[in-house]
Amino acid sequence: SARPRSVDVSKGVDWLTRYGYLPPPDPMTAQLQTREGIEEAIRTMQRFGGLKETGKLDAATLSLMQKPRCSLPDIIGTSELLRRRRRRRR
């Protein structure tokens, strides 16, 4: 129930970004990485990894994030799709 440490949140966001669950940070559209956005990304990651979908960086989620793995993203093209969406909105 404790809040995750800041360092875990930071590492978690980096991890979610690297593997395609979050778009890369963009100073022009920072609102895309809201708390809700991160929670949704965590849920997707948990679903993909077979964990309970809590939307939180809980122990199981942090543990899975530390497992050895392939470098390629799990969600292909997230950043590209989001870029296109942003362009359309503009």
Partner: protein, 437 residues
């Protein structure tokens, strides 16, 4: 399964390992082993879909579709490695870009093979299958049973028994279709080294390279010896050693026959005789009452055939060779030999004759070869050999030499001046100690 949306437009792909592991923890993995693991990992996919994989010579200038590298840290592709743990490997999806299909493994991981030390490292075969899945167009799967799941979950098992999960099978077949004929092999070029032995059972954990049943090269008693294209092959059980024209042994450890000579029965126990046929350079393998004809390292269709086709009586042969002196084929069995004319495809009249005609040569030979520029004849039995100079039959009396020392690079036996050692635990038994035993 999930698809990347990319696939190869061709069905015959080439590959090679560009750089091998260099790190201290992976120094036990030689290039032949790495090649072998990559071969088997690609074969998993090649067995499921109509794709073939040809290994290109490491020294060749051709650029293969799939280039395998062992790298560390930043290596100029946007996916830096992070040392032990974390990211293990990655591969690029199919396409026209030069890097498409390329597969990189983190050299700072401790890579293990065949489940040896599986708890101390990462199974290379398992990760290679996964990465080659990417190189063929598959993305990560959310099914934990899938080889394309992103997380490393331990070794998948032995290369001879592993089978793709339905999820992966459907994914790859969605891209390339089903394999109609099982006969399309995953090919290797002649120039690549033979595959090392892959044991059928997981070895004990403490053993890095399993060599449970490897014969001792220093003990002699070879089943067959042959001069093939100027190199001498010594066969014993299901293994062989290879000696180059220069006389150097390619490896102290034997290679598995079936990994190099393709098409012999899987369960053979020993090869009785081998020789290279004059004229067409095809290679004859004789096992008991049958023979197989090879073009290079692959058996030709229609074999085996009965050895009696040569005009030999049933019962097989001990030895066979082409005598450089007259180009005829000689078959030996017990104390007799026969002479065969390959051009006429008939046995010469007046045979069999007694081996004792070759003076100084024992009966029940292991094998015979013509060797060297002069075409001298070498007769092998046990751990000894005798030489008859070009065309001669009477020069070998009392001149036997050691196969172990001269051919197999073993230490010489202790000299006679070293007395046998008496076993202190036994009153009567006397032991001798051999450098090689």
């Amino acid at each position: 399964y999930a698809l990347s949306g990319l696939l190869w437009q061709k069905r015959s792909l080439t590959w090679k390992v560009n750089t091998y592991p260099k790190s201290e923890q992976n120094k036990n993995l030689d290039s032949q082993t790495i090649d072998s693991i990559m071969y088997y990992a690609l074969k998993v996919w090649g067995d499921a879909v109509p794709l073939t994989f040809q290994q290109l010579s490491p020294k060749g200038s051709d650029t293969p579709d799939i280039v395998v590298d062992f790298s560390s840290s930043y290596h100029d592709d946007g996916y830096p490695f992070d040392g032990a743990g974390g990211t293990l490997a990655h591969a690029f999806f199919p396409g026209e870009h030069p890097i498409s299909g390329d597969t990189h493994f983190d050299d700072e991981e401790t890579w293990t093979i065949l489940q040896q030390g599986a708890d101390q490292g990462t199974d290379l075969y398992t990760v290679a299958i996964h990465e080659f899945g990417h190189a063929l167009g598959l993305a990560h799967s959310s099914s934990s049973s899938s080889i394309m799941a992103p997380y490393y979950q331990g070794p998948v098992g032995h290369p001879t028994t592993f089978q793709l999960h339905t999820d992966d099978l459907q994914g790859i077949q969605q891209l390339y279709g089903r394999k109609d004929s099982p006969s399309k092999p995953t090919t290797r070029t002649m120039t690549t080294p033979a595959l090392p032995k892959v044991p059928s059972q997981p070895p004990p954990r403490a053993t890095r390279f399993p060599q449970p049943n490897l014969p001792n090269r220093c003990l002699g008693d070879f089943d067959a010896i042959a001069n093939i294209r100027g190199e001498v092959f010594f066969f014993k059980n299901e293994f062989f050693w290879r000696i180059q024209r220069t006389g150097s042994l390619v490896s102290l450890n034997p290679a598995q026959v079936s990994n190099f000579w393709k098409g012999l029965p899987k369960n053979f126990k020993k090869i009785d005789a081998v020789y290279e046929r004059p004229g067409d350079s095809k290679i004859v393998f004789i096992i008991r009452d049958q023979y197989w004809l090879f073009k290079d390292t692959t058996v030709l269709p229609g074999y085996p055939r009965p050895l009696t086709e040569f005009g030999l009586p049933s019962g097989g042969v001990d030895a066979a060779f082409i005598w450089a002196h007259n180009g005829k084929t000689y078959f030996f069995r017990n104390k007799y030999f026969w002479r065969y004319d390959e051009q006429k495809r008939t046995m010469d009249q007046g045979y069999p004759k007694e081996v004792s005609l070759w003076q100084g040569i024992p009966e029940d030979l292991d094998d015979v070869i013509s060797w060297g520029e002069a075409g001298d004849t070498y007769f092998f039995k046990g751990n000894e050999y005798w030489i008859q100079k070009k065309g001669g039959i009477d020069q070998a009396i009392g001149t036997s030499k050691s196969v172990a020392v001269d051919w197999m690079r073993c230490s010489p036996r202790p000299t006679a001046s070293q007395p046998p050692v008496k076993n202190p635990k036994s009153k009567d038994k006397v032991c001798t100690c051999d450098f090689n035993a």
